[in-house]
Every structure is written in structure tokens, then in C-alpha cells.
């Protein structure tokens, strides 16, 4: 490219600006730039334009509804052992349509028919993994319980237990709407040291006399308990003792 025409070298301006030029061409263009006020000006203009495009106004995160449709579809499909991608989703509803089994499906798939409890635990673990992998921890990010709790009003049919437990080392990070077994659930995210904890809560509609349940799955520990009709599942890679501290504090 050493005998580049001036016209050609001007064509390098954009790839130069974008850092997409090979090294040798970059050098070439920089030499040109020293003697070409037009190109210098053009570069400054491009910089200005880029700044204009950097704002959040051009960036749209996927709406929560869409995200839930895609994430929750596995829950609807878990009873069946195969995915029906040919369903007409406009008829069968959005959740069935996506037929994305996600990791949850993969975990839920087990030989035999699992008991309701253990399949619930599987869902909790997959919900936890999903939140970590998809980098979708929050719909509402706040360390303030008075911000997080009201956010759920109208989104779930109960008032979730949200507490500021930072004095005990459990830092509230935020909350999101999740789906467990096809039901809307409040998911609260706490952090304890470097560990992320998901607390899933939903309204079972009945006051259940069962006490605390514990389980371990895929390297995660789970503790479940009841607060009135609300079932609370706590899941993390923390050990069970630490999860117990949180469970007691929430009660």
C-alpha cells in the first residue's frame, strides 16, 4: 500500500478511527494525518459524533416481560421430557413458544419422576444459576429494603420479606421477578462476603406446618422455610450454617 493515492488514503480514516487498520496502514495514515488538516478535522468530527452516540438513549435492555418469557419457558416444559418447538406460540402463549429449556431444564431432567420437593429444589438451583449466568441478577438494584420491597407491589400477590441485614454481613443487593414452577416468585439477592445468595419467595396460599428443609445439589446448598403461607428458599454456594443464619434472620 506504499503508493497509495490520496483518495485511497482518505478511505482509511474510518477504519483508523475504529482501530481496525493493520499496523502498517496505521503508520501510513498517521504520516498522512500530519499533513492533512482535512483529515484531522474529520477525525475530530467523528469523535464528536461518537460521543453523541455513547449515551444510554440508544441502548435498550430487553424488557423484563420478554426476559421472563424467555427465562421462564423452561418451567412450563419441565413436565415433558422433550421440547415442542413446533407449537404455535401465538396460540399456546408466549412461554410455551420459546421452548428454551435453559439450564433449568437440563438440571430438571432426571431419570424417574422426582418428588415435588426435590424438583422444587432443582428449580431453585437452576433459578440461582440462571441469575448468575445470564448476568440478570436484578430488576431493581438497591441496597435499601424500602426501595426493593415496594417494587414487588403488583408484581407478586404477596408482600415479600425483605430485610436489611448488613449488620450481620448479608448485604442486600436488589431483587427481581422470577418464576418457580410457573408461579411468579420474588427473588431477593444478598451478598455475603464474595458469595451471591438468591432468596426465592412465593405465596403458596396455605399455611404449612412443615419446618425447615435442607438440601444440597450441584454443589449448592439450599435451605427452605415457611413464613406463614410464604415459602422461602435460600440458595448459595455458602455452607448451610451461614444460610441458617440468614434464614433465622429473615424469620
Amino acid at each position: 500500500m506504499s503508493k497509495m493515492q490520496s483518495q485511497d488514503i482518505h478511505a482509511l480514516l474510518h477504519p483508523y478511527f475504529d482501530g481496525e487498520l493493520a499496523y502498517s496502514d496505521s503508520i501510513l495514515f498517521e504520516e498522512h494525518l500530519e499533513n492533512c488538516p482535512d483529515c484531522s478535522l474529520a477525525l475530530a468530527e467523528q469523535q464528536e459524533l461518537r460521543m453523541l452516540m455513547e449515551g444510554p438513549g440508544l441502548r435498550y435492555p430487553a424488557p423484563a416481560k420478554l426476559r421472563h418469557n424467555i427465562y421462564s419457558s423452561y418451567a412450563r416444559n419441565q413436565q415433558s421430557s422433550r421440547i415442542l418447538i413446533h407449537w404455535n406460540w401465538k396460540i399456546y402463549g408466549i412461554a410455551a413458544s420459546i421452548a428454551i429449556a435453559l439450564l433449568g431444564f437440563w438440571i430438571v431432567l432426571a431419570p424417574g419422576s422426582p418428588s415435588a420437593e426435590s424438583s422444587e429444589a432443582r428449580e431453585i438451583v437452576s433459578g440461582h444459576l440462571r441469575s448468575l449466568m445470564a448476568t440478570h441478577l436484578f430488576d431493581v438494584a438497591s441496597t435499601d429494603q424500602h426501595t426493593v420491597k415496594p417494587w414487588f407491589t403488583g408484581r407478586v400477590d404477596f408482600s415479600p420479606v425483605v430485610k436489611d441485614l448488613s449488620d450481620r454481613g448479608f448485604q442486600l443487593l436488589g431483587g427481581r421477578l422470577d418464576y418457580i414452577a410457573g408461579r411468579p416468585a420474588a427473588a431477593l439477592v444478598y451478598q455475603y462476603r464474595k458469595h451471591t445468595i438468591n432468596v426465592f419467595e412465593w405465596n403458596t396460599g396455605v399455611v404449612n406446618p412443615q419446618g425447615e428443609e435442607k438440601s444440597t445439589m450441584k454443589g449448592f446448598n439450599l435451605v427452605a422455610e415457611w413464613i406463614g403461607p410464604i415459602k422461602v428458599w435460600i440458595v448459595s454456594d455458602l455452607n448451610t450454617e451461614e444460610l441458617d443464619i440468614l434464614a433465622n434472620a429473615l424469620r
Binding site: 452516540m53 438513549g57 427465562y71
Partner: protein
């Protein structure tokens, strides 16, 4: 591919790019509801084509599907209504506003709104190239792969698209700054 393997590949390599998929769909369709439909449809397609996924670059692969889904959606739509929205004059797209300083220009919400509108008014091939580069930070090579054109075309579309944007915004602001 075994079902379980398929599901975990999908969850790990594809689903995390949901935001990027929506962003591109939104920029192409210029409308929230259509973007949602396109993304849903694209995820169904992605799942059913998963056997053809090399396992390497999930984002590029998914965005190519989103783009194709958009084009087939647009075709169906055009058959129905024939006219495209972009026929509005550019003046219609801009809010009238008086005094503003250059400093304020970068900060204000109106500015972003105007940049957004200017971008939306570009022909689709320039719009998609700019979105992929400026917003999704894809490389020339990835954009070439997504849009199915040579890298030289990506380069010239970026250059041309930026010039169009600048001209639109300059015309808009010249009288007022």
C-alpha cells in the same frame, strides 16, 4: 446433539446475549412491540438451528439470526401495508427547540432523542451497521459475518452512515447553536 447438551449450550452461549438481540431488533424495527416479537421469534429459530452453531461466537451467531428474522418479518409486513415508515420527511422527525450551547448538547436527553431519531431515519443497511459497531461493539469482521457483506462494505457503510448522521444533526443544530 443430545437434548441436554443442546439445552446447556443454549443457556450458556446464546441466552446471555438477549440484551444485544433486543437492542438490534429495536434499532431495526424502531418499535418496542415489534422488537419483542422479533426477538421471541429469533430465539425459537436459534433453538431449532442450534445444530448449526459452531459453539464459538454465540453473539455473532444470534445477532445474524435476529437480523434475518427482522428481514423476513419486514417482508411480510411490507406485503401487508406496502409503505414503509421511513418515508416521513426528516423534518417531521425532529423536535423544534431553540437556544442550546454545545456543552448542553452532549448532556441533554433531547440530544439523545435527536440522535436516536436521526439514526432511525437512516436506511436500514446503514442503521444496522452503525448499531452493531457503535452500540454492540462488534468488529468489522463480525459485522461482515452478521450482515453477509464483505468487510470493505462494512467499512464504507460505516463511513457513509456516519456522514449521513452528521449531516442530519448539523442541519438540525446549525441554526440554533
Amino acid at each position: 446433539m443430545a437434548q441436554e447438551e443442546k439445552n446447556s449450550i443454549f443457556a450458556i452461549k446464546i441466552v446471555p446475549h438477549l440484551d444485544a438481540a433486543y437492542n438490534l431488533a429495536r434499532g431495526l424495527a424502531r418499535n418496542e412491540q415489534d422488537a419483542e416479537d422479533i426477538v421471541q421469534d429469533a430465539f425459537i429459530r436459534a433453538y431449532s438451528y442450534l445444530d448449526s452453531f459452531s459453539g464459538k461466537d454465540g453473539k455473532t451467531w444470534l445477532l445474524a439470526i435476529v437480523r434475518n428474522t427482522f428481514y423476513s418479518w419486514r417482508e411480510r409486513k411490507q406485503v401487508r401495508q406496502k409503505v414503509e415508515v421511513s418515508d416521513r420527511t426528516l423534518d417531521d422527525l425532529f423536535i423544534s427547540d431553540s437556544s442550546r450551547t454545545p456543552e448542553a448538547v452532549f448532556e441533554s436527553k433531547d440530544t439523545q432523542e435527536e440522535v436516536h431519531k436521526a439514526l432511525n431515519s437512516l436506511p436500514v443497511e446503514f442503521r444496522e451497521t452503525l448499531i452493531l459497531w457503535e452500540i454492540e461493539s462488534m468488529s468489522y469482521k463480525e459485522i461482515a459475518s452478521i450482515t453477509g457483506v464483505p468487510m470493505g462494505t462494512v467499512m464504507s457503510r460505516l463511513a457513509r452512515g456516519r456522514e449521513m448522521l452528521r449531516t442530519l444533526l448539523n442541519n438540525r443544530w446549525k441554526g440554533n447553536v
